[in-house]
Structure formats: structure tokens, C-alpha cells
């Protein structure tokens, strides 16, 4: 019941988490997001999107062992 995934924090999310990545446990992205927001309440102020294994996802998704979830604040390139 505990799927282990790697969470990557970028931009403002990385500053709030105070680290670039960490390992967490969750069976789907909704559960994962809840845990992240619980652990880092300030993350609520960041309008982030998620990438699952480098692909932006628009809806909640189940997670597999060793999936990579990236927390992506609005892009600011250029």
C-alpha cells in the first residue's frame, strides 16, 4: 500500500521545501499533493503543476514504485 516515489521541487517550490528533492510515499498524485501541502503549508501559495516522469499531467494519476513527480511552479524562462 505504500508506493515510494521521488518528488522534485523547482523554483519557488524548492525554496519552500528547502531541498531540491525527497522521497515520499503515496499511491496516487492526489494523496501525494495533500501530503506535500500538509508538510509545507506555504506551498499553498504556489500555483504549481505536476509532471509525472517528465510529462505534464492535467489530472490525478495513480503512482508506481520509483515514479518521479516534479512540482512545477509557473515557468519563467526567457
Amino acid at each position: 500500500m505504500s508506493t515510494t516515489v521521488t518528488v522534485l521541487y523547482f523554483g519557488a517550490a524548492g525554496e519552500i521545501a528547502g531541498k531540491p528533492s525527497e522521497v515520499m510515499e503515496a499511491d496516487d498524485t492526489d494523496t501525494l499533493c495533500n501530503r506535500i501541502l500538509e508538510k509545507y503549508p506555504a506551498m499553498e501559495t504556489v500555483p504549481f503543476r505536476l509532471a509525472l516522469n517528465r510529462v505534464l499531467i492535467k489530472e490525478g494519476s495513480p503512482l508506481k514504485e520509483n515514479d518521479i513527480i516534479a512540482i512545477l511552479p509557473p515557468f519563467k524562462g526567457g
Binding site: 519557488a12 519563467k76 524562462g77
Partner: protein, 133 residues
């Protein structure tokens, strides 16, 4: 993983000169459109920007950049070559953080594709910035 689209620190005049020689041998390319993005010394809340620190999600940037090129080449059939690089790390005010070059047979697709790439990169390239004062 080596990323063709990201370069550490500012994009130097030397690198720009080198990139501008790419595609030089293509005598069917009558138009070259270039965009250079530079860090501005903007004033934010009364403080002057000295530099911007860029960070990127490297693996995803590579994938997105490849897709952007594919999409733009399909949309603008007269385009012959597309090159671009974006800085990561610290780039000071006045220095270059983005370089885009598009070659095409004629001006119309060269200039429009170049502009479209700017917008696509802003929208899709996983890059973040932090102002340093």
C-alpha cells in the same frame, strides 16, 4: 544527461558568434531571424536587479525543446533550421540568457517562427528565475 538547449551561466558573445555560423553553408536560406533575450536591470520594489539566477528541470527541458522544434518546423514549412539555448545559473544584467536562431527560405516564416518559438519557450520550457539584488 547532457542538454543541448541549456548552457551554464550567460550566453557569451563567442558562443553567439559560433551559433551564427551554423547553417551558414545553406545557400537556400535567404532569411535568418534571431532573438536575443537579456537580463534587464529592472527596479523591483525599489531595488535594482543585479542578476537573475535561472534553474531548470533538465530532463524535461530537453524533451520539451525537442517537441517545440518539431511543432514549429511542421507549422512553418519554409523553415530550414532552428537553434536555441537558454541559460541556467547566474546571468548578470546586460548579459544574454536566451538565444534563438531560425533560418528559412524567406522572411515571413523566419520571423514568425522565431517569434512563435519565444512564446513556446516561455510557455513550455521548465525554467525558473530568481532575481538577485
Amino acid at each position: 544527461m547532457k542538454n543541448r538547449y541549456l548552457v551554464g551561466g550567460p550566453i557569451t558573445p563567442l558562443l553567439i558568434s559560433e551559433m551564427m555560423t551554423l547553417g551558414n553553408d545553406d545557400v537556400g536560406a535567404g532569411a535568418v531571424s534571431i532573438f536575443i533575450g537579456k537580463v534587464r536591470d529592472d527596479e523591483i520594489n525599489g531595488k535594482r536587479v543585479k542578476a537573475i539566477e535561472y534553474s531548470a528541470y533538465n530532463d524535461m527541458a530537453e524533451k520539451e525543446a525537442n517537441e517545440i522544434i518539431k511543432t514549429v518546423m511542421m507549422a512553418f514549412s519554409d523553415v530550414r533550421k532552428i537553434f536555441f539555448v537558454h541559460s541556467t545559473g547566474t546571468v548578470r544584467a546586460g548579459e544574454v540568457s536566451l538565444f534563438i536562431m531560425v533560418t528559412a527560405g524567406h522572411r515571413d516564416h523566419a520571423t514568425r517562427a522565431c517569434r512563435h518559438i519565444i512564446e513556446m519557450l516561455k510557455e513550455r520550457l521548465p525554467v525558473w528565475k530568481k532575481e538577485l539584488f
